[in-house]
C-alpha cells in the first residue's frame, strides 16, 4: 500500500500555520495606518489554510474548518459595503472614515478606526475568493 511520506510537511505545517495565522491577524489590524491591510492579511490566511489542506488532506481540514468559503465571500462583501453605507447615517460623503483612541484593560491605549471595519470585510472576501479558486482546481481530478 502507498503510504505518503510527509512527516516533515505535517510537522512544520502545524507550526507554520499558526505563525501565519497570527501574522495575518497582526497585518489585518495594523493595516489602516501602517504596512498591511485586509488584502495582504487575507492572502496570508489563505496561504495558511491552503498549506493545511496540502498537509492533512481535504477531508480532515473540512472537518476541522467547517466553513463554506463561498458564503465567506458574500459575508465579507456585505461587511465592506455596509461600512461604506454607514456614512449615510451620519450624513457625510460615502466612505468617509474616522478614528479615535480607546483605553483597553490589557492593551492600553489603542487606536480604532472605521477603516478597519472595511478592512475586515476585504479580509473575509480575499480569504473566500482565494481558497475557493484553489480548491476548485484542486478538487477537480
Amino acid at each position: 500500500m502507498y503510504k505518503p511520506n510527509d512527516l516533515i510537511l505535517r510537522t512544520t505545517t502545524s507550526l507554520i500555520a499558526f505563525i501565519l495565522l497570527g501574522f495575518a491577524v497582526y497585518l489585518l489590524f495594523a493595516g489602516h495606518n501602517s504596512p498591511g491591510g485586509g488584502f495582504i492579511g487575507g492572502l496570508v490566511t489563505a496561504a495558511a489554510i491552503v498549506l493545511m489542506y496540502m498537509a492533512y488532506g481535504i477531508e480532515t481540514v473540512d472537518k476541522v474548518l467547517p466553513i463554506n468559503f463561498e458564503t465567506l465571500i458574500s459575508i465579507g462583501l456585505i461587511t465592506a459595503i455596509v461600512t461604506g453605507l454607514g456614512s449615510f447615517l451620519f450624513d457625510v460623503p460615502f466612505l468617509s472614515h474616522t478614528f479615535d483612541y480607546f483605553e483597553f484593560p490589557i492593551f492600553g491605549e489603542v487606536e480604532l478606526a472605521t477603516a478597519m471595519l472595511f478592512d475586515i470585510g476585504v479580509y473575509f472576501t480575499v480569504v473566500g475568493v482565494t481558497v475557493t479558486i484553489i480548491l476548485n482546481i484542486a478538487n477537480d481530478q
Binding site: F39, V129, T130, I133, N136, I137, D140
Partner: protein, 112 residues
C-alpha cells in the same frame, strides 16, 4: 534610477508580449502576468523614484515621496491578481473540455 526601472519595465513587457504570442495556454498566462508587472513598474517610475522620504502633504515640505502611484499600483495589483487566478481556472477548464492547450486548435470555423 528612473532609466533603469524604465528599461526593466520595457524588458518585462517585451518578454510578456513574446509569451503572449505563444500557442500554449500556460505561456500565455505567464505572458499576461509579466505584462501587468511591466505596467505596474511603469506607473511607479512615472511618480519619480525616491527612497527614504515620507509621503506627506504639508505646506513647506519639498522632499517627499508621491503616494499616489503606490495607491494606483496596489489597486492594479489586486485586480491583476484576480484576473490571473480567473484566467488560470478558465485556461484549465478550456484545456480539459477541448482536450488541447494549443491556441491553433481552438479556431472556431462552424459559423463561417
Amino acid at each position: 534610477m528612473e532609466i533603469i526601472i524604465s528599461i526593466l519595465a520595457g524588458v518585462l513587457i517585451t518578454t510578456g508580449i513574446y509569451n503572449l504570442l505563444q500557442k500554449q495556454f500556460l505561456r500565455i498566462v505567464i505572458g499576461t502576468v509579466l505584462l501587468s508587472h511591466g505596467a505596474h513598474l511603469f506607473i511607479l517610475t512615472m511618480g519619480k523614484l525616491k527612497r527614504g522620504q515620507p509621503p506627506i502633504l504639508t505646506d513647506g515640505v519639498t522632499d517627499y515621496t508621491d503616494p499616489l502611484p503606490q495607491a494606483l499600483i496596489l489597486t492594479s495589483i489586486v485586480i491583476s491578481f484576480g484576473i490571473t487566478s480567473l484566467l488560470l481556472v478558465l485556461a484549465y477548464r478550456t484545456a480539459r473540455e477541448n482536450n488541447t492547450d494549443n491556441m491553433e486548435e481552438l479556431r472556431g470555423t462552424e459559423n463561417e
